[in-house]
Point group: C2
Chain length 190, copies 2
């Protein structure tokens, strides 16, 4: 997605060879008009598939997931990073390791929002090692649902999450894949 | 907002006299089409004011804030509940006390996303004691911005946040104000 790559080039900052900061439009300040175009691109790329639900994880996945859900007319469920005090029913959990934050945590989804046989579209802002996507897949499977597509705004192609998930047969549509980056340089995969 | 009150009545569950669970359309599962109508209602109610930015707090404020931002053509900034590892620049913080979770935490916004003289619209899912709204006001003020409106999806009218903020002169537009609730009963303010 040309416009997205342009914005990443102009405003993104590689803090190291693995951490990219895009907080001016995606994950701290959000530019709704750009995220709306991103949602439209997800619709275009997944036009050949039918889904029942969008699954994402708080917080930065919510904006692209909700705008995609609006266009696809689908409910969006966001996994929570901590079991909330008001979540007193049964829930599915799976562990996530954040390499950026160097910590482990569980994400949780109430079991009532994953139904057997549902086809799920995962939407997330980043794909790096794939830990969050694999946790969302595990949660969907716990409820008997099937992940039929994964839409990613920015994939770090130099980390192995995308490769692993594609080898497992998942259809991943990443709108910008970064092949390599360092301070002052971001190179995209063609 | 009639449709919202209907959905709260049908799907909301008062877990106690102060905790309301609306996780089927607002803060765990999200129904984008309903949030889009909510965003339209915020636009209608604040049509007489001009804003430069929408401010919210992760995670449940993001969906209504982004859909409102899309309609108003404004950037959205969401305050983070923990200072992220990629937030290495100057930031504004303010303390929040969550009565639901019985804990204190700071929220943070990078100083580069609050500019002097900006008029800010706060959007959030709930207003109860007003702790999150007051923290967002404090953050806006640290950056020399001014909060010119507060849009709330559900106000707990039996708690004092709305009263206090209105007495301080803030214009609050709450789409549903709950006057009283208990298990199996939710009564709205007219």
């Amino acid at each position: 997605m040309k416009l997205l790559k342009k914005r990443i080039t102009e405003e993104g900052r590689a803090l190291s060879e693995s951490i990219l900061k895009v907080d001016s439009f995606l994950n701290h300040q959000i530019e709704p008009a750009l995220i709306d175009l991103i949602a439209g691109e997800f619709c275009r790329r997944f036009a050949d598939r039918t889904f029942n639900k969008i699954l994402t994880v708080e917080s930065s996945g919510i904006a692209p997931a909700v705008l995609t859900g609006l266009k696809m007319n689908l409910p969006v469920v966001f996994a929570k990073k901590a079991k909330p005090s008001t979540m007193n029913e049964e829930y599915f959990t799976a562990p996530v390791h954040s390499f950026t934050k160097q910590k482990d945590y569980d994400i949780a989804v109430s079991s009532k929002f994953i139904r057997k046989g549902e086809r799920v579209l995962i939407i997330d802002d980043f794909l790096a090692h794939g830990s969050a996507s694999r946790a969302l897949i595990a949660i969907a499977e716990q409820g008997g649902a099937k992940v039929d597509g994964i839409g990613i705004v920015i994939e770090k192609g130099f980390q192995n999450g995308g490769k692993l998930l594609r080898e497992l047969g998942y259809r991943i549509e990443s709108l910008a894949i970064i092949e390599e980056m360092s301070e002052n340089m971001i190179r995209f995969r063609n």
